[in-house]
Symmetry: C2
Amino acid sequence: MENTYLIEKDFKELLKEQSAYKEAIALAHWDMRTKIPKKGVEQRSEVVGFLAEKLHQLETSEKMKYFIDVLKDNTKDEIVRKTVEECEQNYERNRKIPHDEFKEYVMLQSKSEAIWQEAREKSDFTLFQPYLEKLVDYNKKFANYWGYEKNIYDALLHNYEPGVTTETLDQVFPALRNSLTSLLDKINQSTVKPDPQVLKGHFPKTKQEAFTLDILERMGYDFSSGRLDETIHPFAISLNINDVRVTTRYDEEDFLMAVFGTIHEGGHALYEQNINPNLASTPLATGTSMGIHESQSLFWENFVGRSESFWSSHYELFKNYAPEAFQSVPLNQFYRAVNEVKPSFIRIEADELTYPLHIMIRYELEKALINGEIDVKDLPGLWNEKMKDYLGIVPPSDKEGVLQDIHWSGGDFGYFPSYALGYMYAAQFNHTLNKEMNVNNLIASGEFDQIREWFTKHVHQYGKMKKPLEIVNDVTGEALDARYLVDYLTKKYSGIYQF
Amino acid sequence: MENTYLIEKDFKELLKEQSAYKEAIALAHWDMRTKIPKKGVEQRSEVVGFLAEKLHQLETSEKMKYFIDVLKDNTKDEIVRKTVEECEQNYERNRKIPHDEFKEYVMLQSKSEAIWQEAREKSDFTLFQPYLEKLVDYNKKFANYWGYEKNIYDALLHNYEPGVTTETLDQVFPALRNSLTSLLDKINQSTVKPDPQVLKGHFPKTKQEAFTLDILERMGYDFSSGRLDETIHPFAISLNINDVRVTTRYDEEDFLMAVFGTIHEGGHALYEQNINPNLASTPLATGTSMGIHESQSLFWENFVGRSESFWSSHYELFKNYAPEAFQSVPLNQFYRAVNEVKPSFIRIEADELTYPLHIMIRYELEKALINGEIDVKDLPGLWNEKMKDYLGIVPPSDKEGVLQDIHWSGGDFGYFPSYALGYMYAAQFNHTLNKEMNVNNLIASGEFDQIREWFTKHVHQYGKMKKPLEIVNDVTGEALDARYLVDYLTKKYSGIYQF
């Protein structure tokens, strides 16, 4: 074994350059979605394209290959070893796609997104169909370049949830689906319904903002390492561990969007803010997967934010910010109303019980597409059939159906399952957490520090040092199990709907 | 002459890369001064350093040298020709400094700025002195590398106001100084003084913001290509022609800062927003010099914003936004108060009449320093002597004297004269403009379009296609002449102070 100290030093310099490009790109994106003046967008897109190309060049450079080869089995430093692994995977996956094909694909992506927008506006799937066909073809091709063991779709899943396969999903999803639809039946049959009307009313933006800032502060979001801004499609973004920004959207006639949206993005941000500083400027300094990220946002949004304990301790605070109209609503009515279950056409408007059903529809369709079992042209019909089967409703148009999500227009196949996985992870984490502390009591007394610190200790700090299923196993001592989500939902909704 | 079409195409690609880095750097700076969370600053500084280094590499690359050599005398395209000139100058100036010296200098700069801040806080010049000595030495060395004809200081002046020399300044400054001090004498002797008390009072930030946004809109600042944000030290910044941002600062007990500050930065922004779009993505797509830039900001701030005509047409508007306390102040008292002349220690707080005297003090001292005629250690004493001579007051401490400005700590010698030059240019432009239209009538009727369009036609559109003195000559038909500034000030202040 040779002395690799100097080589590691040079390797770290290269990683710093990558981080610098990543921060510049992240800042450009954040600005484009929150601050940029209208006419600045065109030039900015070119700037982002240029910086992304430079980053890509570094990730696939001969220099990078050299570091990987030399350091791979020769470093004693655990962080360097994991970093090399991450870089190697990036390198291999990127190099396997011929440069020309990748460039064509990038152009197809941006064209497709524009066409999808038009198609959605006009609710005309045929406009989007030829583009989607090409996107599916490219993704099949890429999946074959990347390779897989059992199912071609696994190669795509790997981009978002490494380690999770169709085999896993096909084990957990059907049982989850049956449980959810049976819960949904009971809810539909119940005569004890929450009254969503109690949440209706004008809630000024400035008051919503003040309330959401207060909640973020209480969650332990560090404002000296972040900030909250307004946007159209809310997101959290990490520029670096010490600059993790949250965005939200205020609807003055529907305060739920800002409140739960901010708690959700705040959950993502807590993850990124609490990564071990020793990982800074390496590609490990971010959440390990989409699913684990979503477990953090959904834990805070649903298991904390939509819980009875949370509102028992924060309802007075809410009233301090809320206008007159809300002051006379009893706590119990309020709690029930924010947890109304009602099948809806649009995924991002779904309640927490029906949400996973939306995901499964997308998963089943895209898996079949990539496996060549169905054709793109059949998607609208199949979509509506599955909506009828799982949710009992059929969208009146493709705009509210197959055309609603942006993901496929960007070629993002394999992404959707992360949302449901994250939810199951969250429930499983919640189960373990409850064995170690009385979570409801802590929430009910507004003491979030212990909860947040537990997640930092078990999840946040590792960044990409651990794979998603490794985290699940290390934290809970078990493999992924949908039972915890079903138990949580059953307990909660049998209470609310009294069945 | 060979066919250079394809080479020009490649050259333009290189320029686009430069522009992309410049936009990324500008955005990072804007964010650092307006939005960044406290803990994000450290990492961001590294990102900016990295991007600046990449930009510097492009500007001094062999590729750049190749394009300069091939295209220099071989292009028929006027924009390409001027761009090559600009690139060549950049290339030559950068290449003349040995890389090691440049790196040492950059480190010295950032260290010196921190030391200067400490020295200023403690009002202890001796802390700063050794750093300033080194900065002066480096600047002398660089000036010798760059070369000059008559005075070594000219090599530094060239960085900010190409074409202007100490010879020019030594022609215009003494006469200007005599006129200003004699005007100041008359003002001091006058018994008819404005009453600044009428401007005192609480003015809520949100109201100030609404008023300044309204004024910017009326000036013709394009909000679809820009935005207004809050900062500590206001500035305007161009990310590209279609994204030119303005910042301001609100002091609730002194609304003048935000109002005149925003008009000033708005003047800078109008320049950058109205550059010929054909220059986009070339290094010509920005203001031609610090002085011409300052002519635009000062024209709007002083010749428009502090004029009687402006307040005659905008005083009702002001009152719409202003709190009760200001409603009873008569227009004439208000106008006189915003134009109070009073020698002050701090340059950036100076009124428009004494402002150039502050500049001359700095010019005379830095010219003598660079020429080795005085020593750094003698600066505090010399500073105070000149303050006494020109303004009749002596700062109580170096904090309010020689240590007040950041410029020297960044090694920016040769910058200060631009402020006074810009003011003289503005007066000279104003004189010409008045021959073509009744400027006061237009201002008095709130019609700024013709004025702005005149500046776009004669100044803005050219970006760096014309040198500063070329613009002055083309617009006014004359060489630089301080007379117009003296005439303007004499007329205005003999009215206000009745002498």
